[in-house]
């Protein structure tokens, strides 16, 4: 775990789903410049980071405790960016079906990526598909609070 500079944070954590909530809480506690945007932090960013970590540990690293997940967070006054990278072979996010379609509503999985896309301004993957970057704009005109597009 290291803090490269005042506004950034880099964490390397072992694959352990029990550690996700604590990791997210720690990152949120470090977002001191974002505290005036409490709802975006507590809903949009919390959901996005939690889902990214879950996907990385469960699907990317396949629950393998010998594999790690790297989280890099860049904080600034108007923007919060988190990159989550696993040690898996990657996946194609375009193949994940829309969980809100009637035929998928009763499925017990497949909502994580959807929620990330709904609640963050930008969600992008590297070519390999083992690294996701989340961007949440905190100034007005950016993302949205409560699921309503601004």
């Amino acid at each position: 775990m290291s803090d490269p500079n005042d506004g950034d944070l880099v964490l390397e954590i072992p694959t352990d789903i029990q550690a996700i909530a604590g990791t997210v809480d720690y990152v949120m506690s470090r977002c001191v410049t974002c505290q005036s945007h409490a709802r975006k932090l507590n809903l949009n960013f919390r959901v996005g980071l939690t889902e990214a970590l879950s996907n990385a540990m469960m699907y990317g690293n396949g629950h393998d405790p010998s594999k790690n997940v790297v989280v890099e967070v860049v904080m600034s006054q108007g923007c919060l960016q988190a990159t989550v990278r696993d040690q898996g072979t990657g996946f194609d996010p375009t193949l994940v079906p829309d969980p809100t379609l009637p035929e998928n509503l009763s499925r017990s999985c497949g909502r994580g990526l959807f929620l990330m896309r709904e609640l963050l301004d930008e969600v992008s993957y590297n070519d390999r598909g083992n690294e996701v970057t989340l961007v949440l704009r905190l100034e007005s005109g950016g993302a949205f609070e409560g699921g309503a597009q601004a």
């Binding site: 550690a19 909530a21 507590n42 959901v47 889902e51 879950s54 969980p99 017990s108 699921g147």
Partner: protein, 110 residues
Amino acid sequence: MSFQVSKVNDVTLIEVEGQLIVGNRQELKQGVLEKLEGGDLKFVIDFANTGYIDSSGLGVLVSLSKKIREQGGELRLSSLNEDLRTLFELTKLDTLFRIADEKEQALEGF
């Protein structure tokens, strides 16, 4: 996360305290399934003391609802805060569950 189970008439009321997330969802699932296997059919899960449910937690609720329906029962939810309501609305799970503002309303007429 912890949860308290009580019986109100013939309805099993489960009051969840804390976050329902990937790291603890199986505990709730197991607790409800044990009651279902014991013959209970009417369930209310109350989230008055729950700040956050992640996609795995949502998935467990969907899975439980399906299993309970297969046995001829019903799972109702209550007391979602604003953020939780947003998650249910975004995922359209508000169309899958009967969601009451308070547990008393969920228990009413069950």
